[in-house]
């Protein structure tokens, strides 16, 4: 046993020397090199960049006022003057679609950040320490998780209802809060499962035998090998959250008119699907593209950071 440990240590030292001599490359550097060559990554980054700029400076993309209704032009089909046509109220669909990016992007990004952070921390702690902590956390996630996502969201939004005077940001943060409170248990469970699978592996045992601190074991050995599923699901979740925001609008309890968002635009136009499809199609395409961009980004990042994928 001691001999083996000695060999491992010796090998480690040799490897380290080799690293110092050759071009030292951390996993991150290598992953970054890999990513830069991946066309999907570039495309999704460009898309995300466009959507982010759209969310922050919508005025760069259009001069039309999204709140200016010309009722005479109600439901005009797309033309050279109004690229995406006009909706039932005579609003310019293109301008509405550009200005609608903000709500979806903010909700998706904020909700994903909150759920992932909470889920990873809680899931890792539960799996790593096990015992009573694990039991407590699992029962807590059960309590939250047992409540169906959408119904929990509906109940949350109904308990703290919007009034006519509710500001844009107060509604948005309520939606983010609802999604985060209901979303973290799924990430925590996934993370716990992944850590449980990684924990009995030899390299974790070896690190422990070498006297690594729990923080070091988790950070250097468990997290890099257990993050792949959470990263994929988080990125997919970002899309799901954007869609969930739209769903809440569809049910009439998320953002509602006069707020401008893709969800509001889509749900308002569903009844016109056969008579004026362009009112539905353009916001849907933008929503789907945003979701798509985040999923592709998630896929690319996972493939790059997974050493087993090389």
């Amino acid at each position: 046993m001691t001999d083996q440990t000695g060999i491992i240590v010796a090998e480690g030292a040799v490897a380290q020397e080799a690293d110092n001599v050759g071009q030292a490359q951390s996993l991150t550097q290598e992953a970054w090199r890999e990513l830069r060559r991946n066309p999907l990554f570039i495309i999704s980054l460009i898309l995300i960049a466009i959507f982010l700029v759209m969310a922050v400076f919508p005025g760069l993309f259009t001069n039309t006022d999204p709140a200016k209704a010309t009722l005479k032009l109600s439901a005009t089909p797309p033309s050279a003057d109004q690229w995406f046509g006009r909706d039932l109220q005579g609003y310019d669909v293109y301008a509405r679609t550009i200005y609608g990016a903000r709500a979806s992007i903010v909700v998706g990004v904020m909700a994903t950040l909150c759920t992932s952070l909470l889920g990873v921390i809680i899931g890792t702690l539960a799996a790593f320490y096990g015992g009573i902590l694990d039991t407590l956390v699992m029962r807590l996630t059960d309590v939250f998780f047992a409540i169906p996502f959408l119904l929990g969201g509906i109940l949350f939004m109904s308990t703290f209802p919007n009034t006519v005077n509710s500001g844009y940001w107060s509604v948005v943060s309520k939606v983010v809060l609802a999604l985060s409170i209901l979303g973290w248990p799924s990430i925590a469970r996934l993370m716990r499962g992944a850590v449980l699978q990684v924990k009995p592996n030899d390299y974790v045992q070896a690190a422990r035998a070498l006297g690594a601190s729990p923080w070091r074991i988790v950070r250097s050995h468990i997290l890099p090998n257990a993050m792949a599923p959470v990263m994929v699901v988080s990125m997919i979740n970002l899309g799901a959250f954007i869609a969930a925001e739209a769903s809440l609008s569809f049910l009439g309890i998320g953002l509602v008119s006069p707020a401008i968002s893709w969800g509001v635009a889509i749900s308002d136009s569903l009844s016109l699907i056969r008579t004026a499809p362009w009112i539905l199609i353009f916001p849907s395409i933008f929503l789907s593209l945003a979701v798509l961009a985040f999923i592709m980004l998630g896929d690319a990042v996972r493939d790059a950071f997974d050493p087993k994928g090389r």
């Binding site: 939250f144 959408l150 999923i295």
Partner: protein, 308 residues
């Protein structure tokens, strides 16, 4: 094993209490007065108000109201709505429909999803892999209510293959299209999850050993690799059944199905707490049993995870 199951059943009790209390507290906090508009265009007579509030325990503080509710529940009494309707009767009718819907969706995603995931996983980087990836991406990126409305318009209205709306006592065929719509999003997740895990496990040492032993490729993939790769998928599917029941609300709304989701939504809007809590309690119990089932399956799929 029996000991494990008994312990898990006992563990369910705090979860049921915890989640129903959470729902109860949120319903309790719902703004609005259940008596508003109850007596037409005049305020309700004081005697009626008093009896109504006493019948529904409206004047008790939250914990006492909750304990009273739990007491009734323990006797199998789900209470009555503010309209005086028996909640349990209504729930039975509604659940029959929504469970049917969710079963269609679950079968659809388990069979097609895993199949697509396996095909993509074993031919990673090839045409079929890209096809599966792109089509799942398309499904994930379009919101359910757009897919639902499109499917209804195309397959229901234009082509006439499926009924556009659903009768009050729907058969399996009436629920087929809604079920496929409901399952489509989870199908995409299941396919991608299977693909990721299968592709990762195909490079594992035990797979190389199995190949080296001279086992046939179907056996290596079907028995050795798939069994291990299915663990996250089974977790996902098991937890998803409860999600499908609750998440059916959008599909139910589009296809005019009188299921649980719609009942809860309608009851939240009419501030009918008893109905909401009763319906959600059932959802919670279904969800917990599915989870127990998944955990038992864990041990079957991966003998390293033992329950003793």
């Amino acid at each position: 094993m029996t000991k494990y199951i008994v312990r898990r059943l006992l563990q369910m009790i705090p979860v049921i209490i915890g989640s129903t209390f959470l729902i109860f507290a949120m319903v309790f906090a719902l703004p609005g007065n259940p008596l508003a508009g109850k007596c037409g265009e005049r305020p309700c007579p004081p005697a009626f108000v008093e009896k109504f509030r006493a019948d529904h325990n409206l004047d008790d503080p939250l914990p006492i109201r909750y304990v009273k509710y739990l007491g009734d529940l323990a006797h199998g009494n789900f209470g009555t709505t503010f309209q005086g309707l028996n909640v349990l009767d209504e729930l039975q009718k509604r659940y029959l429909i929504t469970v049917k819907l969710a079963v269609i969706a679950l079968l659809f995603e388990a069979i097609i999803g895993v199949l697509a995931g396996v095909l993509a996983g074993i031919r990673k980087g090839k045409f079929i892999d890209n096809l599966v990836l792109v089509s799942t991406l398309v499904v994930i990126s379009i919101p359910t209510f757009v897919i639902g409305s499109l499917a209804q318009t195309i397959f229901g209205v234009k082509l006439g293959w499926f009924p556009v709306t659903t009768p009050s006592k729907p058969g399996w065929y009436d629920l087929l299209l809604p079920g496929l719509v409901l399952g489509s999003l989870s199908l995409a997740y299941a396919a991608r999850l299977t693909r990721t895990n299968l592709a990762e496990n195909l490079r594992a040492d035990y797979v190389r050993t199995a190949v080296a032993k001279g086992l046939s490729r179907p056996r290596v993939i079907g028995v050795h690799t798939l069994r291990n790769s299915l663990i996250p998928v089974v977790t996902f599917l098991g937890a998803d059944f409860g999600g499908l029941l609750g998440g059916a609300i959008i599909t139910e709304r589009i296809f005019n199905i009188r299921g649980v989701g719609g009942y809860i939504f309608q009851s939240i809007n009419s501030r009918d707490g008893t109905a909401v809590v009763g319906a959600v309690t059932m959802l919670v119990i279904v969800y917990l049993f599915m989870n127990l089932l998944v955990d038992i399956l864990y041990g079957v799929l991966d003998p390293r995870i033992s329950h003793d």
